[in-house]
């Protein structure tokens, strides 16, 4: 058996709020294999976003280690973390976070410029990525001219720009209607199956759980239990 792609060992994240210490994560142990599709479920405040941020290198744990592809990212310098985010991680934020002064295609292009020095085909590649999320016809729209779901799909296209081995999605469907949500999930699913991208997807929506390889349930900053789906459902099969 191969070593897991992501391994969280006794990860703790505390926030000091004056006198009070908020224990957002209190000793999380989690292994994610390469190519796996994980859904993180849990009530509000249970530590889902915190977990994702830590794996994505946006934050550092108070204690514990996070080993990704054999390297302990908690020991990384800021520069190494930036590099790690750029090469290994695709992040889809709960609140899109597109760059307002760039059009849809330029937002994707911007991410492409982070790894590609050759500026020639950037626009073509960016349009192709938008096509993947079904937004090629909105390429020249600014974020303010896009609906929430469209913005979320641009955010996914941006996350995919550099073919990251790991895709982290924080409530990618939280702000979307059922139909659009399914489209978004479909894109993520295809990526996972066709390109072997490892996906960690945070959601409140238990209906999404059956499509995952494994479902990790968090409660009060710890893993409550993990379910393994022997036969993950396709997006179409989900009881939305």
């Amino acid at each position: 058996m191969n070593a897991p792609l992501i391994e969280c060992r006794q990860v703790k994240r505390f926030y000091q709020m004056g006198e009070v210490t908020v224990q957002a994560l209190r000793g999380l142990d989690l292994c994610v294999d390469s190519g796996e599709f994980i859904v993180l479920l849990g009530p509000s405040g249970s530590g889902k976003t915190t977990t994702l941020n830590l794996i994505g290198g946006l934050d550092r744990p108070t204690e514990g280690q996070i080993v990704v592809a054999g390297e302990d990212i908690t020991r990384y310098t800021e520069k190494q973390l930036t590099d790690y985010r750029r090469r290994k991680i695709g992040f889809v934020f709960q609140f899109f976070n597109l760059i307002p002064s760039l059009t849809a295609v330029e937002n994707v292009e911007f991410a492409l410029t982070l790894t590609e020095q050759n500026g020639r085909n950037l626009r073509r590649k960016a349009v192709a990525l938008l096509d993947l999320v079904g937004l090629a016809d909105r390429a020249d729209h600014f974020p303010s001219q896009l609906s929430g779901g469209e913005q979320q799909r641009v955010a996914i296209a941006r996350a995919l720009a550099n073919h990251p081995p790991i895709l982290l999605c924080d409530e990618p469907t939280g702000n979307l209607d059922a139909g659009t949500g399914q489209q978004v999930l479909q894109v993520i699913r295809e990526l996972n199956q066709q390109e072997g991208t490892t996906v960690v997807l945070v959601t409140h929506n238990t209906a999404i759980a059956p499509m995952a390889d494994r479902v990790v349930r968090l409660r009060d900053g710890q893993i409550d239990h993990i379910e393994v789906n022997e036969r993950p459902l396709s997006v179409a099969e989900l009881a939305w």
Partner: protein
Amino acid sequence: MNRTLLLKSLRDLRNAWAQTLALIFIVALGIASYIALVSAYRDLGASYQHTYEQLKFADVTFAVQGAPALVATEIEQVSGVTAVAPRLVIDTGFERADGEQIRARIIGVPPDDQPAVNQVLVEDGRYLTSDDIRAVLLESHFAKVYGIKPGDTITPIINGEKITLTVAGVVASPEYLIVSPSRQEIFPSVRTFAVLFMAMPELQTLTGREGEVNEFAVLVDENRDREEVISEITAVLAPYNLETTIRQEDQPSNATLRLDLEGYREIAFLMPGLILLVAAASVYVMLGRLIRAQQPQIGLMKSLGYSNTAVLAHYLTFSLLIGIVGSVLGVIGGLVLTRGITSAYANELGIPLVQTRLHPDLFVSGVLLSLFFAILAGLGPARTSARMAPAIAMRLDPATALSDGHKSWLERWLQLPLSFRLPLRNVFRVRRRSFSTGLGIVFSFILVLMSWGMIDSMNGLLRRNFEEIEQWDVVAVFDTPQTEALVDKVAGWEGVQEVEPLIQLPATIRTDSKDEDVLLTAVSPAQTMHIFQFSDSLTPEAALANDQVVLATTLANKLGLQTGDTVILDTPFGEHKFTLSGVSDEFSGTVAYISLEQAHQIANMPMPVYNGLYLKVDPAKERMIKRDLYHLPGAASVQLKSDTRADIESLMGLFYLFMGIMMAFALGMSFALLFNAMTVNVLERERELATMRAIGTQNGRIVRLLTLENIILWAVTLLPGLISGTWVAQQMGQAFSSELFSLQITISPLSYLLTALGILVTMLLAAIPAIRRVNRLNLAEATKVLT
């Protein structure tokens, strides 16, 4: 007001602490500059008034040919006279070791006790006593120029004899705050005019005028009609040949001082006023921007049930806090700075006693203006946001809301790579943001150019006069006619490189309606010592042809003359009609030029004679040459260009000090504006920049993006900045007018370049703290929703 909301106000301030501090600083600096700079100018007037009162400066001085000192008691009897000082004043001279001819005025004062009128302030050494023999007090300007200290000696000629006198003290006199021997001599002559105070009995003995005086300095009761008192005293003095009656406003030093200060009256208010206005306008723009960025919170507050009034009150508190804290600091700062600046001015002008007063009108107007703009800044955007439906206000990311969704033709056409497109678009598409940032930059240009423009123009004026127009190093004037032989003789001296003869005469220029006294100089059209500054292609040969006269531009303007007009020149040799051939743009506004040939014709001289020489000399030998010239028979005055330049520059001392202080404040304000503009510009986009970092953008690239954006902003504001800065400088130059000369604003290309680069460098440096902050931001927090 709701307590939770007040807490929120304070918390908002804390979150945007850098901007808040910068805004408070801008308000404070604006008010402090305004109060300090305007107060200092006003206090300068108060200080000389104070000096006059303390030293009992005469209200009227009567000069007679000679009268017994006892007449003073008769004058004292005149009702309305509060004090009389009888004195003996003699004008004489002496020669310094370097050959310089010094005019000296010796004033008799009572020993042991100060006179009742026109007292002196002992700055070094002591006052005279009746035991002193051959002791004098020396007026401080002359003492300073030559470094004369108590114990040194001076040897003036009194009654035809050289008398060696020991300096007992160096003193300031209300009559000589500006050393001006007479009203006809506008430029004071610290270098060649000494005022000495001597015990009256000794002076009377030395001059053989025992018991006799020739001046009565009088103080008049303020509540009495001065003219009535004067006419009564005139009657008393009738038997003694009253020569002149000088009222305080006509006294030479006082008149010059007033004239000098008068030149600053407008700009002393306008320049600080502009700094204050710029501060207030910037606070209005920046605070408005800070509040506009809070739109989602306003939506949230309203959705939680707060009324429009509550929301408005909240942001008003925020604005008022900034306005009030800034005002308090500004008033305190202004008070502290006023004294220092007043002292510096007074010191420069030689006003010995400084008085500073409170000027409540400045406090009130400065504070009210700032508060008004702060409140306006708070109300406007808050009201717009409050009126918005909560859902809309909340949904709008203010950064997104600012984008309009069109690509400019320029962008389509240029096809730039993304790293250029993004900063370009941030500048051109987010117009409101760019406008307010750009305004900060333009204001900085205005402030810097306003003060630097004045200094630069003055430097340019002096440089042009002394380096381009006047090519001579020494000019000597004789009071007896000289011939070609003298020219040849002097030309043969060691160190003399070139000699040109000239004739210099006092003259009056008359037109139909006006006349002006001028210094008429006759030169050969071929001479190279004085280079005319004609605006057209006029040659000196044509300009100095027969019956043609050249005037200084300011003089021609004052007389309302155009080229081709005729004028009458009234010289010691009679009247003569001339045609104005051209105007020369020169520093001195009271000069006229004709040809030597013409001068010989007017004077009706059979052979060429001269009364002056222009010399070009070896600078190392100029002092020696000056002494030798003085020793020539008939030598009346020998002037070194370097001395004249130093004199004029020191005369401009107040100007440079005044502008230097303005400049310091303007620079301080510019820096605050740029810092604020740059900081807001970056911090407003914290979330956007954090997202860039979260997806793996290196810090270096973010620095490059923001720097490029700032350079673009700078490039865009460069032209408006330079143009409006120059325009404001020109207005200030016009407002700074004195009767002596007018200041044409000419800013050198180097100054423009340095200003532009200085502002660019400041912008880039000012952005560093904000960029560092963004590059250190906690990404997990910054990429979440706005809080």
